[in-house]
C-alpha cells in the first residue's frame, strides 16, 4: 500500500518539479499577466505564455521529441541502443541517471539531423511519441509555414496607398534597418569580449529583433538559430508591445519642437491600378535581386495582390481574418514550447533581451535622423517624427508618430504620412532578412 502511494508521489508533478521549471511557469504567468492586464500584444502573448507553462509541466514532456522523452523515461537497454545509434559511449559505471543526462545533453546539442532522425525512429519504435507542442512546433515553425502565412495576412491587411503617394518614405524604412545590423555587431562584439557566446548566425538572428517584425524574426531565427527562437520571439513581441514606451523619449530627444510641428503636404490620391501593379513590381524586383527574400516578400505581395485586385474578396478576407487567427494560435503555442527551462534560463537570454531593446532604440534613432536629413535636402517638408515609424511594428509605430506629433501641434495629423515609412519598414526588414539568410544560411 505504502509502495503504491510512493509511486503516485514520485510520479506527481510536485515531486518532479525542478527549480527551473517553477521559474519558467512563473515567467509564463508573467507573460499572461502582461497580456491581460497591460494589453501587451495579447493575441500573441496569451498563446506564448500558456504554451510556456505547458512546456514546463514536469514529466509530461509536451515540448519534447520522442528521443528526448525516451532519454528521460526509457529502460537501460533502450538507452544503450540509442547511445549506439548516436555514436556515443556510455560509461557503465556512471549509473542510469548519468546516462539519461548525457543522452539529453547530446540530443539538445549539435547532433547531425540524420542521427537525430534515427534516434527518434528508435524511440518511436519503442512506443514513445513526440509531445503535442513539439508536433505543433515542427509543423508550424520548423517548416517555416506559420510566419509565412502570417506575412500573407499582413500583406492582405496592408494599404500601400500612403507609400505610393510618397515613395521616398521608403528611405526611412531602409534607414531604420540599421538597428538590425548594429545589434548584430553588438552581439558579435559581446562574444568577442567574452561576455556571451554567440556565433555569427545567432548574432544575425538576434539582430533581426530590431526589424520589429514578429513573423520575420521567427522566420529568420528558425533558419539561422532555432535554439534561440524562444527568447528571440518573446523579446521581439514584447518590444513591439513596448513601442509606445520606448520610442517617444528617443523621438523627443532627437527633434526640436519646431521640427515636430512641421505640417506635411496632403498626400495625392493613388489610383487603383497603381495599387494593383505595386505588389507585382515589388515581386519582380525580389525575383531579380534577392531570391532569398522570396518566401517572405512573395507571400506578402501575394496577400496584398489579393486585397487590391478586388476579384477575390473571399480569399483576402480569409487571409486577413480567419487564417491569420488560426495560424497565430499555433505559432504562439509553438513559440511557447521553446520556453523550456533548461534552454531558456541562460545568461544568453538576458543578453538577447538587452540587445533587442538596443536594436529597437537604434532603429528608431536612425529613422528619425534620416527623416531630418531628407527634410533638410528636399523641397517638400518632412516631419522627422514619421522616421521612427520606419521600424515596421505596423501600425503601432505609425500611431506613436501621430501621437507625438499631436502633442506638439494638435492640428497636425501624421498618421497617414507615417504609414508610408511603416510599411516600408516591413519591406526593409524582409530584405534585411533575405540578405542575412543569403549570407549565412
Amino acid at each position: 500500500m505504502t509502495e503504491k502511494i510512493l509511486t503516485l508521489w514520485t510520479g506527481s508533478g510536485l515531486y518532479n518539479l525542478s527549480l527551473g521549471q517553477a521559474v519558467m511557469v512563473l515567467v509564463g504567468l508573467l507573460l499572461l499577466w502582461l497580456a491581460m492586464a497591460k494589453k501587451f500584444e495579447p493575441l500573441l502573448l496569451v498563446p506564448i505564455g500558456f504554451g510556456g507553462i505547458l512546456a514546463n509541466i514536469p514529466e509530461a514532456g509536451l515540448a519534447l521529441s520522442a528521443a528526448e522523452q525516451a532519454a528521460h523515461l526509457a529502460r537501460p537497454a533502450l538507452l544503450e541502443q540509442m547511445a549506439a545509434t548516436l555514436q556515443l559511449g556510455l560509461d557503465p559505471a556512471a549509473g542510469i541517471d548519468a546516462w539519461r543526462h548525457t543522452l539529453t545533453e547530446v540530443l539538445h546539442g549539435d547532433v547531425s539531423p540524420a542521427l537525430l532522425r534515427a534516434a527518434n525512429d528508435m524511440a518511436m519504435d519503442a512506443g514513445f511519441a513526440h509531445g503535442m507542442l513539439y508536433q505543433f512546433y515542427s509543423v508550424a515553425i520548423a517548416s517555416g509555414i506559420a510566419p509565412l502565412v502570417i506575412f500573407m495576412g499582413v500583406g492582405a491587411m496592408t494599404d500601400f496607398g500612403p507609400l505610393l503617394a510618397n515613395p521616398r518614405t521608403l528611405f526611412l524604412g531602409a534607414a531604420a534597418q540599421f538597428g538590425i545590423f548594429a545589434t548584430l555587431l553588438g552581439a558579435v562584439g559581446m562574444s568577442a569580449m567574452g561576455w556571451m557566446d554567440f556565433s555569427l548566425n545567432q548574432a544575425a538572428a538576434i539582430g533581426i529583433i530590431g526589424g520589429a517584425d514578429g513573423p520575420t524574426s521567427i522566420y529568420v531565427s528558425s533558419i539561422l538559430a532555432p535554439e534561440l527562437l524562444g527568447a528571440i520571439a518573446v523579446a521581439s513581441y514584447s518590444y513591439m508591445a513596448l513601442v509606445p514606451l520606448i520610442q517617444p523619449p528617443i523621438m523627443k530627444a532627437l527633434t526640436s519642437k519646431r521640427e515636430r510641428e512641421i505640417v506635411m503636404t496632403q498626400l495625392r490620391p493613388v489610383s487603383k491600378l497603381e495599387k494593383i501593379v505595386f505588389p507585382l513590381a515589388l515581386l519582380i524586383l525580389v525575383v531579380l535581386f534577392l531570391p532569398d527574400a522570396a518566401p517572405l516578400l512573395g507571400m506578402f505581395c501575394f496577400g496584398n495582390l489579393m486585397r487590391e485586385c478586388g476579384v477575390v474578396e473571399r480569399l483576402s478576407d480569409t487571409a486577413q481574418n480567419a487564417l491569420i487567427n488560426i495560424v497565430t494560435i499555433f505559432l504562439g503555442l509553438s513559440v511557447g514550447s521553446k520556453l523550456m527551462a533548461d534552454r531558456f534560463l541562460a545568461v544568453e537570454t538576458l543578453g538577447i533581451l538587452a540587445l533587442g531593446m538596443v536594436a529597437f532604440a537604434i532603429g528608431t534613432a536612425c529613422g528619425i535622423l534620416m527623416a531630418k536629413l531628407m527634410n533638410a535636402v528636399s523641397r517638400m517638408p518632412i516631419n522627422p517624427l514619421i522616421g521612427s515609424a520606419g521600424v515596421s511594428a505596423v501600425p503601432m509605430a505609425a500611431r506613436v508618430s501621430n501621437k507625438v506629433g499631436l502633442e506638439s501641434n494638435p492640428h497636425n495629423f501624421l498618421l497617414m504620412h507615417a504609414m508610408g515609412p511603416n510599411v516600408a519598414g516591413v519591406i526593409g526588414s524582409a530584405v534585411a532578412a533575405g540578405v542575412m539568410i543569403k549570407y549565412l544560411g
Partner: protein, 84 residues
C-alpha cells in the same frame, strides 16, 4: 585571433546588408515613381473618377437631401421628446 575574425565578419555583414537594403529600396523608389508616372500618363483614371463624378454628382445630391431629411426628422423628434 578568432574573435577579431568574428568581428570582421560582423562588420562585413553589416556593410553588405545595410548597403543592399539601401540599394534595393532605392531601386524600389525609382521603379515605383516610374510606374506611377507611366500609369498617370497612359491610364489617367478616366474610368474611375469620371464615372462617379457623372453619375455620382446627382446621386450625391439626392443622398444629401435624404440625409438632411433624416437629420431634421431626428432633431425634431428629439426636441419633442425632451420638451415634455
Amino acid at each position: 585571433m578568432q574573435d577579431t575574425q568574428l568581428l570582421n565578419e560582423g562588420l562585413a555583414l553589416m556593410g553588405l546588408g545595410m548597403g543592399f537594403v539601401f540599394v534595393f529600396l532605392t531601386v524600389l523608389v525609382i521603379v515605383t515613381t516610374l510606374m506611377s508616372k507611366a500609369i498617370g500618363r497612359f491610364f489617367p483614371e478616366p474610368v474611375a473618377p469620371e464615372a462617379p463624378a457623372r453619375g455620382g454628382a446627382r446621386a450625391q445630391a439626392s443622398q444629401g437631401d435624404d440625409v438632411m431629411v433624416a437629420i431634421s426628422t431626428a432633431v425634431h423628434r428629439y426636441r419633442r421628446r425632451h420638451r415634455r
